[in-house]
Amino acid sequence: MNDRPLTINQTLSIVRRPSPNFLKATFAVVWKDLAAEFRSRELFSAMLVFSLLVILIFNFALELDIKTRQSVTSGVLWVTFAFAGTLGLNRSMSVEKDRGCLDGLLLAPVDRAAIYFGKVISNLVFMLIVEAIVLPVYSFLYNINLFQPGLLLVVLLGSIGYVTVGTLLASMAVQTRTRDVLLPILLFPVAVPVLIASVKASGGFLTSADFASEIMPWINLLIVYDVIFTAIAFMVFDYVVEE
């Protein structure tokens, strides 16, 4: 190694080097997950069929006639997304653990946060694909227009918050004895703010409530939650996968 002081250019190149690597590593993890999923389609089909079944069950449980539909649609949708999301999060982490892939990932000489964000993005993609199918199906079955730009924004923000916390907790849950059973128990109480805000904001859009007073506070809350929990997860993920 040279002992000479570094020139400004050299320092800059050292400082800047991690960022393309970080992104590259993140997208490598995303690509790996998507490629594996594209070939097996295990996770995706399970999440999708499960969501449709949940909607079917709600249909009988709640007697979704026109009047109740107005008020409960946002709740039904978010319960469906939350349950299907848990299924996906569990699966995405347990395949890593089962075949020892997680250890392989951790041995890779990249920032561990990159692995975390890669997992978050791939989980988010799965969840969004499922939502992209459930929303039109629901619109079709119950004759209600769910394709409003505002509602889609809420779905995106809510999913980001849910997946951010969910991925962190799933990587904790797979390392315990009770594994899959534990994730919803850990996740739901912590994700309550996301669910409240998402249900309220989507409900506001569906009943065309006043945007500034009825919807905006909930969207702000979702953004705040997403930012705070992304930051926390970024800071603590190292401790979760440490050996």
């Binding site: 850990l186 703010p193 926390i232």
Partner: protein
């Protein structure tokens, strides 16, 4: 095993005496509230236990952060102790609150921000213990526990704020009262004595239990270490 320290024994006795006095002050000494009558006396212990529950909750989140930074088992023991005591006191708070709410609000339970947040906090704590149960490696158990208390400590206030965006009916006795609150009142001299004495009493009881629980935690860690030594 080291004997129980004298200071702790003294603190035990003081706690019992204080609890007796606080009970007397709340049930006999404090004047009866004009509108709600006798049931208002629940208030003194309700706020006392809630305060201690909150104290334990904050202490746990702080201990979690310090543990992740320092990696000292001591902070893990402190964290478990606070969560466990806080869990019990929040439960007492909720039960006392329900007893009060039945005649005053005409219902055992309502989804008010404070009530809901208290219930969710209890669930977070239960989840916390289930998480710890499932992990054998003490080091990993402590790390995961710390991470989860931090997540819970951040999420519970957000839950509180988010439900507060709806209306609340929970009275605020100290500080500003919202117009929709039901069952509020202002404290007179005798009530203030009983109230602050209850707060003080529960703080002392908290410290006493905390001390016991830390001793227990330290011993449990020692036992675990001995077990590992035998097995290897």
């Amino acid at each position: 095993m080291e004997p129980k320290p004298i200071a702790l024994k003294v603190l035990d006795i003081i706690s019992v005496i204080l609890l007796g006095t606080a009970t007397y002050l709340a049930l006999v000494f404090a004047p009866t509230e004009a509108v709600m009558g006798q049931v208002q006396r629940v208030f003194y212990f309700h706020v006392g236990t809630a305060w201690v529950g909150l104290l334990g909750f904050l202490l746990a989140a702080a201990a979690g952060i310090i543990y992740l930074v320092k990696k000292d088992v001591k902070w893990d023991i402190i964290e478990v102790a606070s969560v466990e005591i806080s869990l019990v006191f929040f439960l007492i708070t909720i039960m006392l609150g329900s007893i009060w709410a039945r005649p005053v609000w005409n219902t055992w339970w309502t989804w008010d921000p404070r009530l809901t947040t208290a219930a969710i906090t209890e669930l977070i704590y239960i989840a916390y213990f289930m998480l710890r149960e499932g992990i054998e490696d003490p080091d990993r158990r402590a790390r995961f526990g710390a991470v989860y208390t931090i997540l819970g400590g951040v999420s519970a206030p957000i839950t509180f704020m988010s439900i507060r965006l709806f209306r609340t009916i929970h009275p605020v006795v100290i500080g500003s009262q919202s117009a929709a609150a039901q069952g509020g009142f202002s404290m007179t001299g005798g009530m203030k004595v009983a109230f602050f004495f209850a707060l003080f009493t529960f703080t002392v009881i908290f410290i006493d239990l905390f001390w016991h629980r830390i001793r227990l935690g330290t011993l449990a860690a020692k036992v675990e270490q001995l077990k590992l030594n035998i097995m290897n």
